[in-house]
């Protein structure tokens, strides 16, 4: 018996989406029977743009791939370029990179907690978690001078040191945030009404998680023990090991719990790090031209594994940089898990992976005759303008 099906388009502009993305959902009544996603609306051509700037200038361009996890992009890039150049940043610099990365994780996870609570209709949690997030924003501002895009990294080191004043701000901030995180953990695992939106919703088994290739907290909430900080320690993570937080239930509730427990782990790591911060220089000399070669650099961003491929032809500009952000790896899980759920669960399901569209949009499809051709910057630009006009 064939039933009439409804197709509901969501996006690219939609109140439930903070960034542009397009979802096509087919529904049978209130139940979703199929979902597909179309990305690429926030494609900015960054990978092409880095090829026409020098290694130092690219640091700041790449840092702006994401407004939330900016530091981790810069760190992945710096570590990769340093590897190519055969330079290692001093231990104190590596520790400060880890420090800023972990503070950034706090700010990212708290931001996510608020957004996810808002999607669930729990605006009180949204407001209070964001109020508390200000604490870590102020810590970051004291440490680096900026709330976002801290620009703490340099090729070959970092710009900012931790002095006693900053140290005290960080430690007192952490104490406050730790109490609050315990409180939020109680709420997300105990509030009866909130649990109706999260418990048993978006179930993903660890086999599914492996098959869909999800990363980060989304994978860890499904029992996949994978964290680049432990599996392939970079910067100073070999000196400051973390405990990987894993939950096995695989539903939305588990994704909340994993992220909040990760925060507790992060507070612990920062305290240990500040306790034994190595003395020494903040930076070392970097050559302007980077030896020819190619390398990859993997780091654990707040949303999962962030991957950089960097290729140099020996000049003062990179030959190719490829970035893969965790949202891309996690996106497939949203369309897969959507089937069988209520339409009203879709915003929560999407938020569960903590998507970041503009970080993710690396590619846009261009149809040509099939023969390969090389485009100039100008042609690419003109094509882009015309194409966006056409798409409206």
């Amino acid at each position: 018996m064939s039933k009439e099906q409804f197709t509901i388009p969501i996006g690219p502009q939609h109140p439930a989406l903070k960034e542009p993305g397009h979802f096509t959902l087919t529904v049978d009544g209130e139940v979703v029977t199929g979902a597909s996603v179309r990305l690429g609306y926030a494609h900015r051509g960054i990978e092409k743009a880095v090829e026409s700037r020098n290694w130092v200038q690219d640091l700041y361009l790449l840092e702006r791939i994401c407004g939330i996890c900016s530091h981790i992009h810069a760190t992945a890039y710096c570590l990769g370029v340093e590897k190519l150049a055969g330079v290692t940043a001093p231990p104190r610099a590596q520790a400060i990179r880890v420090l800023v990365a972990e503070l950034e994780r706090i700010h990212s996870h708290l931001l996510w907690l608020g957004v996810a609570a808002h999607q669930a209709g729990f605006d009180t949690l949204f407001m209070y978690s964001w109020r508390d997030r200000e604490t870590v924003m102020e810590v970051l501002e004291q440490l680096t001078g900026n709330r976002v895009n801290y620009s703490a990294n340099l090729l070959g080191g970092v710009k900012f040191d931790v002095d006693t004043r900053v140290l005290e701000t960080i430690l007192s901030g952490l104490d406050f945030l730790e109490t609050r995180t315990h409180h939020y953990l109680d709420i997300v695992s105990g509030d009866r009404i909130f649990l109706q939106r999260t418990r048993g919703i978006g179930m993903m088994t660890s086999e599914q998680a492996e098959r869909l290739g999800v990363t980060g907290p989304t994978a860890r909430a499904s029992g996949v023990r994978r964290d680049i900080r432990v599996d392939a320690p970079y910067a100073a993570y070999d000196r400051y090991p973390i405990q990987v937080v894993v939950e096995t239930t695989g539903d939305l509730e588990a994704r909340f719990i994993v992220r909040l427990k990760e925060l507790l782990e992060t507070y612990h790591l920062i305290r240990t790090l500040l306790d034994g911060l190595p003395e020494g220089d903040l930076k070392t000399r970097m050559p302007r031209r980077i030896a020819a070669g190619e390398t990859i650099s993997r780091v654990e961003a707040p949303r999962g594994e962030l991957f950089y491929f960097i290729k140099s032809d020996g000049g003062d500009q990179p030959a190719r940089i490829k970035v893969r952000t965790p949202t891309l790896s996690n996106m497939a899980s949203v369309t897969q898990l959507a089937v069988g759920h209520q339409l009203a669960d879709m915003p929560m399901l999407l938020t569960g992976i903590d998507p970041c569209f503009s970080c993710n949009d690396r590619l846009t499809t261009v149809q040509t005759s099939g023969e390969s051709e090389t485009w100039t910057w100008e042609k690419l630009r003109q094509y882009g303008i015309a194409s966006y006009r056409e798409r409206g």
Binding site: R64, E141, T144, I187
Partner: protein
């Protein structure tokens, strides 16, 4: 299982003053390391242009007035600057610094973002022969 898990937070908030900052009526002190408008000191500048070379957004330009006597003028466009402080790092003679006080840079006119720094007579001589942009008095 509980309900009203956040009731205590709400009640407590009734007895606290609001956390929202009443900017611009009330100003919080700025953090010491805040990176605001760039400042340039012409006295020590050697004209090496290392700052210009690595600026990611071409926000600074060094104009040579008299190379032998090391007289330069710097044109800075705060509208292009991303406040990354790479230029400050690059300068080996500490000519550059980013102000932690001067950060309210919004303007209604694009030209106001451009500032010409330098010795007064150099700025004057430059602006005499080139069309003036922005704040001709410099700082």
């Amino acid at each position: 299982m509980k309900i009203e898990t956040m009731l205590r937070d709400i009640i407590q908030s009734l007895f606290h003053k609001p956390v929202t900052e009443l900017y611009p009526a009330q100003r919080q002190p700025t953090p010491q390391r805040l990176r605001g408008k760039l400042r340039w000191n012409p006295e020590k500048c050697t004209g090496c242009c290392l700052c210009v070379k690595d600026c990611p957004c071409s926000a600074i330009e060094l104009i040579t007035i008299d190379k032998d006597n090391k007289r330069f003028v710097m044109r800075y466009d705060a509208g292009r600057c991303t406040f990354c402080a790479q230029c400050v790092q690059n300068c080996r003679f500490n000519c550059l610094e980013m102000s932690s006080e001067d950060w309210e840079l919004a303007a209604m006119d694009k030209a106001l973002f451009t500032v010409t720094y330098g010795r007064e007579e150099d700025v004057q001589s430059l602006l005499g022969c080139v069309a003036p942009t922005g704040d001709p008095a410099g700082e």
